[in-house]
Amino acid sequence: MQQNRNALKVAMVAVLTAVVVVFTLVVRIPTAKGYLNLCDVAICFIAFTFGPWSAFIAAGLGTALADLISGYAQWAPISFVVHGVEGLLIALIVRQKGNEAVSFVRKLLAGLVCIATVSLGYFALSALFISTVSVAAAEIPGNIAQSGVGFVLGLGVASAVKKAYPPVRSLSW
């Protein structure tokens, strides 16, 4: 039985990692300053649906792989940490026992934590290891917009997927 559960966990994390990569690389919405990618939608969806550990691994690994594939390998460790922690924190905040609905306050808190983790995480780690404080600070508005939009869409998508595919509830760990 444990063997079956392990196989399911590996399969789930692998597919969710691939989902994060696809949402990061394929779906791009043009904006005035460049592109918004939808990695945060996938991360929030995973955090809301699958629990903290799936969210941590799939979010971190997925965004790191997306960076490697798109030729920004130097960002991969930073993305792994920032988005991994983002997924973990959101999932821990919205985690529920049974089928209770998540309260609005917890959703709001999760949204704020999502935005803060992405914008401050990228700012701190990028200023420390890759660029400078001024260059890293210039990226904060873009990161706030992307993670904010990602969180709202992720929330909508998570509830839509639970309605369209109810067996998804049994996959959380």
Binding site: V10, A11, M12, A18, V27, L61, A73, S134, V135, Y165
Partner: protein, 256 residues
Amino acid sequence: MTINTFVAGKGLLYRFDPRAKLLTVILLCIWFFLPVSLVGLYTVVGLLVLVGALNTGFSHIAKTFLSILPMLLFMVLFMPFNVRDGESLISIGSFTLITTEGLEQATRLAGRFIGITYACTLLFATTVMQEVMLALRSFHLPYKAGLVVTLAFTYIPFIAESFSQIAESHSLREAESDQGKRIVQRLKDLVPTLTSALVVALRSIPNLAMSLELRGFGSEQKRSSFKDLSSYRHPFTHTLLSCIMLVVFWVLFRVQ
């Protein structure tokens, strides 16, 4: 969607042991943060670019540099204005615009940024992803973690293809095109597409789990294992060479 970063070639780097290459890149990234002279930093970056050019060609270098150019420009243009230490280089009236310290820091940062970016890019351009995974395995990456990454790479094209097909189907059902729509409306319209794509991806999880179980995943006796890197004959020599090279660079270029 292309997920292959490998550039086919026959140069020295392609014959270099992947374990040694991985270690070199990690050590090189650390080396760029050591207190070395500016001349030393740019000598190592120049050598790295030269080795890259001999192995992957100039077009690959140009592609890499074009991708980091906006960030590099931003860094070089704004950094000198933020650092106020050192002698004044350019000033307007009594206001100092650029100082020697600011210029030096910007140059150092740009060199470090180019070096780290190019070292990482070169690793993945001269090593197939499967060998990177094998190299990580030889550094004791857990079996399950390696399996998750290889399975994810298998599923990326499938999910990307499903997403494109679903997005096309949804756009065909819409009366008006995306062109005139506001960004909020465009984001709202994405929800059904994303939901459908996610449901398709999630439906593949039970099948994949069943395939893993049938392959004996998790049983006491392992039925499948990763290949090994035995085709590379001199892993020890290559690793030693990488470490010696970086120590020599450090001794030559450290700030006295």
